[in-house]
C-alpha cells in the first residue's frame, strides 16, 4: 500500500530523518515510536505530502508523492500534532468546509458530518467556536477532520496527546474500530498505547529505524535474560548479595532506590532465560528475611525501547 524508500530530510543541515525504508500493507495499524525529536513527526509530514523529502521516495499505490500529490492527499486523512484549527470557526462550519474541499457531494455532506459527530462525540459542541473547545474536544474535531472522506489511510500524529485517561481510552477504541478496515499509521511516545492498539511497531531513533516488527515478535526478540524483582524487609544489600550469588546462573544483583528505607528492593539479573525463581525462593526461605514482594519481570516495550535507544546512544 505504502512504499517508503530511503526517506531523508534535512532541516538547514540538521538531519531529522535519515534513510528510512518502510513497506506498509493494507489493514495494518502501525505505531511509530521514538523519543522526542526522533523524527516521527517529520516522517509523517512527508508521508502526507506537507514536507518534501530531501531525498528518497514515497509511493502510495504506485503513485509518487512528488508527481501526484493531490491524488495521494485524497487517499490520506491526517491529524497533525497539535490540531491547529481555525479558532474563530464553528465546529460545524469547519467540518462543512473540509467536506467541500474533500468534494463530498452536497447531498451527502450533512449525513456525513452527522455520522462523524456521532462517532467522535462532537454532537454537543457542533455550534461552538473551535477556540472555545478543550484540548480533548479539539483532538476529536481533528479526528473528524481526518476521517471526513472515509480515507483508506489515516495518519495520526500523537492522537492521544493532552487527553485525560477516559478520553485516551475512547480515542484508542475509535482507532481500533477504524483499524479493522483501514490502514492506520500513528506516532506516539507512550509505549503502552502502541502496545494496546498496534499490530506492528516501528521504533525510530535519531531519524533511523532501530526496530520494526509485530508487537509480539518485538517483545520476544529483545533480550533473553530473565529478571526477578525482590523486595525484602529489614535486611542489608550485602547479606542478600552473599546469599544469592551462590545460586548458579545469576549474573548480577542490583539495588533499586526506594523511598521506604526499611525496604530493600533488588533486581536479580539472570544469565539466561531459565526460570530461577524456585532456587531464589528456597534461598530466601532458609533465612529469616521477610519477603514483601517477589515477581519475574516481563519484558515490556518500555524495556525494549530503553535498551535500543541507549545502545545507540552508547555507540556514538
Amino acid at each position: 500500500m505504502i512504499h517508503v524508500e530511503n526517506l531523508t530530510r534535512y532541516y538547514d543541515g540538521f538531519c531529522a530523518v535519515d534513510g528510512i525504508s518502510l513497506e506498509i500493507h493494507r489493514g495494518e495499524v502501525l505505531g511509530l515510536l521514538g523519543p522526542n525529536g526522533a523524527g516521527k513527526t517529520t516522517t509523517l509530514k512527508m508521508l502526507t505530502g506537507y514536507l518534501r523529502p530531501s531525498s528518497g521516495s514515497i509511493h502510495v499505490k504506485e503513485l509518487d508523492i512528488t508527481q501526484n500529490p493531490i491524488e495521494i492527499k485524497r487517499m490520506i486523512g491526517y491529524l497533525p500534532e497539535s490540531s491547529p484549527f481555525y479558532k474563530n470557526m464553528l465546529v460545524y462550519d469547519y467540518l462543512d468546509y473540509v467536506a467541500k474541499i474533500r468534494q463530498i457531494p452536497p447531498n451527502d455532506r450533512y449525513p456525513r458530518i452527522k455520522h462523524l459527530a456521532d462517532l467522535c462525540g462532537l454532537k454537543e459542541v457542533m455550534h461552538k467556536t473551535i477556540g472555545e473547545l478543550s484540548k480533548g474536544l479539539n483532538q476529536r474535531v481533528g479526528l473528524a477532520h481526518a476521517m471526513m472522506n472515509d480515507p483508506e489511510i489515516l495518519v495520526l500524529d500523537e492522537p492521544t496527546q493532552g487527553l485525560d485517561p477516559n478520553q485516551i481510552v475512547e480515542i484508542r477504541n475509535i482507532i481500533k474500530k477504524i483499524g479493522q478496515e483501514k490502514t492506520i499509521i500513528f506516532s506516539t511516545h507512550i509505549l503502552s498505547e502502541a502496545e494496546a492498539t498496534c499490530n506492528r511497531i516501528v521504533i525510530i531513533h535519531r531519524g533511523r529505524i532501530v526496530a520494526d516488527g509485530d508487537t509480539e515478535a518485538l517483545k520476544q526478540s529483545a533480550g533473553k535474560e530473565a529478571v526477578v524483582f525482590i523486595s525484602l524487609l529489614n535486611v542489608g544489600i550485602e547479606e542478600v548479595e552473599q546469599a544469592l550469588s551462590r545460586i548458579e546462573g545469576i549474573e548480577k544483583i542490583e539495588k533499586i532506590d526506594s523511598t521506604d528505607n526499611s525496604l530493600l528492593s533488588v533486581t536479580v539479573h539472570c544469565k539466561s532465560s531459565a526460570d530461577l525463581r524456585e532456587a531464589i525462593y528456597r534461598k530466601i526461605k532458609a533465612t529469616d528475611w521477610v519477603l514483601m514482594e517477589f515477581r519475574q519481570e516481563t519484558k515490556t516495550l518500555e524495556t525494549i525501547f530503553r535498551d535500543l535507544t541507549r545502545r545507540i546512544n552508547k555507540e556514538d
Binding site: K45, E71, K73, M89, Y97, K100, I101
Partner: protein, 234 residues
C-alpha cells in the same frame, strides 16, 4: 483549480464574521470621505477627481491591512499544515485567498458609489471618468492585494506582513513622483513602473491596453512570487 471556491468563501466569511471587515471599511470611508468632501465645495466642480487622486495612497495602507492575515495567520496558527494536507494545490490556495482579498476590496469600495450618486444630484456629473476610475480602482486594488498576499506569505507575523506590503505598495504609488532623482535615460522606465501613473490614465476615463497590461503583469509577478515563497516552506 476546483477547490478554489470553498477557500474563497471561507476567507471572505472570515472577514465578515470578525470585526475586521467593518473596521477597515469604516476607516477607509472616514478617511476618503473627509479628504474628498472637505475640499469638494471649495473647488465647486462636479467630479470625483480628488477622490481618485487620493485613492492610490489610501489603498497602499488599507489593502495590506486587509491581506496581511491571509497567510501569516495560517502559518502562525499551524492551520497551513492542515490546509496543505487536504487535496488542494498551491494554485487553489493562492487564487482563493487572492480572490477573497479582491472581493473584500470591492466590498469596501461599494459604499463609495454614494459619492458620485449624490454629486450627480446636485451637479452635472460626467460618468465616463467615474466608471473608468472604478475600473482602475479595482485593478489597483487587485494589484495591491496580490502584493499584500505576497508580503503575507513571507512571514508568520501579521504586523511585519503589513509593513512589507505597505512599503511595496507605497513605493509603487510614489515612484513616478521621484523621477527627478533618476538619470534621464531611465525616467520613462521608472515612470512606467509606477502604479499611480497607470491609475491616473484610467481614472481620466481612457482605458488603454498598456495600463491594463501593467496591472495584470504586476499581479502575476506578485502571485508568482507568493507561489515561490510557499514552495520554499516545504
Amino acid at each position: 483549480m476546483r477547490q478554489f471556491t470553498p477557500i474563497l468563501k471561507k476567507e471572505l466569511k472570515d472577514y465578515f464574521i470578525s470585526p475586521m471587515a467593518y473596521i477597515v471599511t469604516s476607516t477607509f470611508l472616514i478617511v476618503t470621505g473627509w479628504f474628498f468632501f472637505s475640499t469638494f465645495f471649495l473647488y465647486n466642480q462636479a467630479d470625483l477627481r480628488n477622490f481618485f487622486t487620493l485613492l492610490p495612497i489610501i489603498f497602499s495602507f488599507v489593502i495590506p491591512a486587509i491581506s496581511m492575515r491571509l497567510f501569516s495567520e495560517e502559518f502562525n496558527l499551524g492551520s497551513y499544515e492542515l490546509l496543505l494536507t487536504l487535496p488542494v494545490s498551491h494554485a487553489d490556495v493562492i487564487m482563493g485567498k487572492f480572490a477573497a482579498g479582491v472581493a473584500m476590496t470591492g466590498a469596501m469600495l461599494l459604499p463609495t458609489i454614494a459619492y458620485p450618486i449624490s454629486i450627480s444630484l446636485i451637479g452635472d456629473l460626467d460618468w465616463g471618468p467615474v466608471i473608468g476610475g472604478y475600473i482602475g480602482a479595482l485593478l489597483l486594488g487587485g494589484t495591491f492585494s496580490a502584493v499584500g498576499l505576497f508580503a503575507s506569505a513571507v512571514t508568520r507575523n501579521q504586523i511585519i506582513a503589513f509593513i512589507i506590503g505597505a512599503a511595496i505598495c507605497f513605493t509603487l504609488t510614489l515612484i513616478d513622483k521621484m523621477l527627478f532623482f533618476f538619470p534621464e535615460t531611465v525616467v520613462s522606465i521608472i515612470e512606467y513602473m509606477g502604479a499611480d501613473f497607470h491609475f491616473r490614465n484610467i481614472s481620466k476615463g481612457i482605458i488603454d491596453s498598456r495600463d491594463i497590461l501593467y496591472f495584470f503583469s504586476v499581479m502575476f509577478i506578485a502571485l508568482y512570487a507568493t507561489y515561490l515563497s510557499l514552495l520554499k516552506k516545504k
